[in-house]
Symmetry: C3
Subunit: 241 residues, 3 copies
């Protein structure tokens, strides 16, 4: 039995794992899915990356979770890197699922194709409340291209406004590269959220992990909705010793 | 029910889709497979890219097809880009299947590995009738590496001489990049026709589409012969809203 | 019926194919799995690349094998290139399975990610007997990331010390590029032994073959242990005419 702490991506929250959790539990594992700061109902969107990590760190400490696999999806990759810096002795393995791996001092927006930052800045200015949203067309084709239109819309309609500050502020990862925690990268081969190649998740960001285990599966960026059973199996492959 | 207009690649013609059409029809769709100018029996090989598009545009206009998915395979990617420029309001989505995506003003030969252009020019000079053929060894290993030798030969023996002018003349795509038509790229992961990486179909040419849906499947360049049923399913994934 | 000569990678030996041989034989083929010089019990580790090839060439000549498919895995890619130079008329097709394809005059260490050479040199200095070993963590995550921990350990425990000289001495491949032997590359898509992308097996080293057939399969670097049945099928796809 392994304990998994699953950290969602931008616009998402703990319940985003609702289709995957029972699959992992059926395989005999214990699953935790805390929500990042800024994404819980009632949270202020004016959060730093550290603020976003805080409720997850508190969740882990409150329950005294130890020896767990810490998985981050997408933006969640930034969070698990910071959480691992804060709690290095509690993490058995890090799994980055189609996730950002930032270099020390970079921002999230440093790592996305060049058309994204101006579009997101314009959206943030329009909204004026410190959050951003993605247009449905981007979500549908880039993030959920493997879903039916109905499922893509259903998930899209339940997304929450994403705090913009954690996309634009540099992240201090000065300790991350030295952490002696084993790492895996779980890549979905049809994920076109950042396009593939020059700006892709893998191997561009994955290779920043140093030496790591590579696990791949068919599917897009949101396989927790489109292939939850297969994702659970691949999480186990990525997370086991 | 979706209407599909499938545009074949070089050396091929409407009947090249004969194994895929019934699979798509079984899935409930309407399928059209016109042949490009220069490839129909009796056509002069002395055609421009516009001449190659003409019979397909006429086919669409004659039947007043509207709201269709326009798919181009290989060289057919050049043709569907031009056809979309000519009939932008009729195309619901463009699907590039292991297809050329040219930059405005480029030629097809600008986009193939460096050993191809001299070999094709030499072949054109040898043949002296304005057409080119591929050696069987190239076809077998690069284009149909996933087929049995028998199937690769059977398909090769039915190829038609390809007009060479549309490979060597620059293509005006000055309007293509601005078309607001959604786009998908369907990539077969063992296609080694142009080698992969530096000269590959995906992500090199696919990323020129701007933001797009990525669909992948196992197989080589000619999956219409080697995996017609799976290809039909993937065409639907690539072509749906 | 095809005759296959399978050449193992570094740290391995003829018996490394024990799970694959019966699968290929069941498919109707004849299989030979000689061991390279320096890897047989009692061999001196002080061998050149030519010395490593010698027992395999002798094996082929002793049995007068002709018209066979010659496959090399990993470091075995270096060996089959040299063996093909020595016996060009006997080889029907070359298959490189997640294998090194060196440029003329390069060393193996020229072709691995930058952190490997200093680590291997340090290990060689430590051992002091002309051989190197990999740390288990590298083997487990990079080479057998698709295996259970138990299988990864079981295989690791049976590895043999690898002669270091063939990694550090330049290999003369001045004749290889001109050999008119058809070539295939068999790539396992989760092989992270050299990381993927900048230092990966495919397309970086595969594309040095010139034009070739690409066959891919899921799995890591050691699919002869993790997926022997599928590997046998893919060897046949890669090796057939």
């Amino acid at each position: 039995m392994t304990t998994y702490v699953l950290v969602h991506g931008a616009w998402q929250y703990g319940e985003s794992w609702d289709r995957v959790r029972p699959e992992l539990e059926t395989l005999g594992h214990e699953v935790h899915t805390p929500t990042a700061g800024g994404l819980r109902p009632g949270d202020s969107p004016d959060v730093s990356t550290d603020d976003a990590c805080r409720p997850i760190i508190d969740y882990i400490l409150d329950r005294d979770l130890r020896d767990f696999v810490l998985l981050g999806h997408s933006w969640g990759g930034v969070l698990i890197a910071k959480i691992a810096e804060a709690l290095p002795d509690r993490v058995r393995r890090l799994v980055f699922q189609s996730a950002f791996v930032l270099l020390d001092g970079q921002t999230v927006l440093d790592n996305v194709p060049p058309f994204f930052p101006p579009a997101l800045h314009a959206n943030a200015a329009d909204r004026g409340d410190g959050t951003v949203l993605l247009p449905f067309e981007i979500w549908r084709d880039g993030f959920m291209g493997d879903a039916t239109l109905e499922l893509a819309r259903e998930v899209y309609d339940r997304l929450r406004p994403q705090p913009f500050r954690p996309f634009t502020e540099p992240v201090d990862l000065s300790k991350f590269a030295e952490l002696p925690i084993p790492k895996s990268y779980l890549n979905a081969t049809e994920d076109n959220g950042l396009l593939q190649g020059e700006w892709g998740w893998h191997p561009r960001m994955s290779n920043r992990l140093g030496y790591f285990r590579l696990v791949q599966m068919p599917g897009g960026h949101e396989v927790m909705y489109t292939r939850p059973k297969l994702l659970a199996e691949k999480i186990v492959e990525a997370g086991r010793d």
